[in-house]
Symmetry: C2
Subunit: 202 residues, 2 copies
């Protein structure tokens, strides 16, 4: 983030985040330039640099907005049925390869994650994004266990397993296009959730 | 691969593969140069280029050797007990972050996977690597199901779930260092394998 991230007006931050998302989905991180971000935005390159000092800070804005959106979607659904909420989360974690936009974003986020050990500007917002995802899935599972509709599992463990499997599907399925393995994975995740919610037979 | 990959003598291929592996673990893909590969090898840069035309072909040699090794390790264990084989596979899929070398390699392979949609030279050997992993895990699960010691699961589905979860642990655990989530994931995978092999209570 620039000197004071709160100084970026929310509308400008959202616009930059949207442009970064579209550009990342098309080009990935290694080929991303601020010119390509500007091409997806109403703003010029100079307009982008008015708010953010570097390309990685613009990417940080995209990750922050994604993390915020994730958190607020979960909050909006907090009163719902845990099974329905968990299945909705799985739908968003396990992207269909035919959804080219979401596939491109997930492949780019995988690339960003691979830079995290070397890049502090990316590491912090990536950590928030992943932490938010884990916490929210664990909340849902904990609710299901408390209500007796889920088996007595470890909510943090199930959250980590589902997030890892969702993120990991990006490599062999979304990036390499092993469609048979992607289909087998999606069925297996459904079966896992079926097992999880079959608390009566536990 | 260069014009004719069979033309590279096995010892030279293995030496290049080893040097690429070490250099990737240290530097990742974006910062990798042939000078850095040569620094991990007895060979000079010119010596590397004698066998391979590009850096990506050297990386391809590393991926091919990894895929071959994976396949031959599985073959060596093919007569063993399916449960022991599956637990051994999980040990290799779910790397401990304290193993810095293996962590570095896995983060680099995640980065390579993110380039697969854009890079044909990397895509083919990555596909072989992932396909070998999936096939071998599915073989083990199928053996366990056939022998009646595993539940009646879909071997391809379980293989895809375990490989996805292993690969996906690279992001939030190995690259970002969320150790609590990594530990919870490892426990959950153990619990999943416990469930899988509890065929008697199925």
């Amino acid at each position: 983030m620039s000197e004071n991230e709160d100084a970026v007006p929310p509308a400008a931050r959202a616009e930059v985040a949207d442009a970064v998302r579209t550009a990342l989905a098309k080009h990935g991180y290694a080929r991303l330039t601020t010119a390509k971000i500007a091409a997806e935005s109403e703003k010029s390159e100079a307009g982008l640099y008015y708010y953010y000092d570097t390309k990685d800070e613009m990417i940080g804005a995209f990750l922050d907005v994604a993390a915020d959106r994730y958190a607020s979607e979960f909050e909006a659904a907090a009163a719902g049925d845990p099974e329905a909420r968990l299945r909705a989360v799985c739908d968003s974690l396990f992207v269909d390869r035919e959804d080219e936009d979401a596939s491109g974003v997930n492949v780019a986020v995988m690339e960003l994650l691979s830079h995290a050990p070397y890049n502090e500007t990316l590491r912090d917002p990536l950590e928030t994004l992943e932490r938010n995802a884990l916490d929210r899935i664990a909340d849902i599972v904990a609710d299901g266990v408390d209500q007796g509709t889920f088996r007595e599992v470890d909510p943090e463990g199930v959250a980590a397993l589902l997030l890892a499997a969702g993120n990991g599907s990006t490599g062999f399925y979304l990036a390499l296009g092993l469609d048979d393995a992607g289909a087998a994975l999606h069925d297996q995740v459904d079966a896992y959730v079926d097992w999880l919610v079959a608390a009566d037979s536990a």
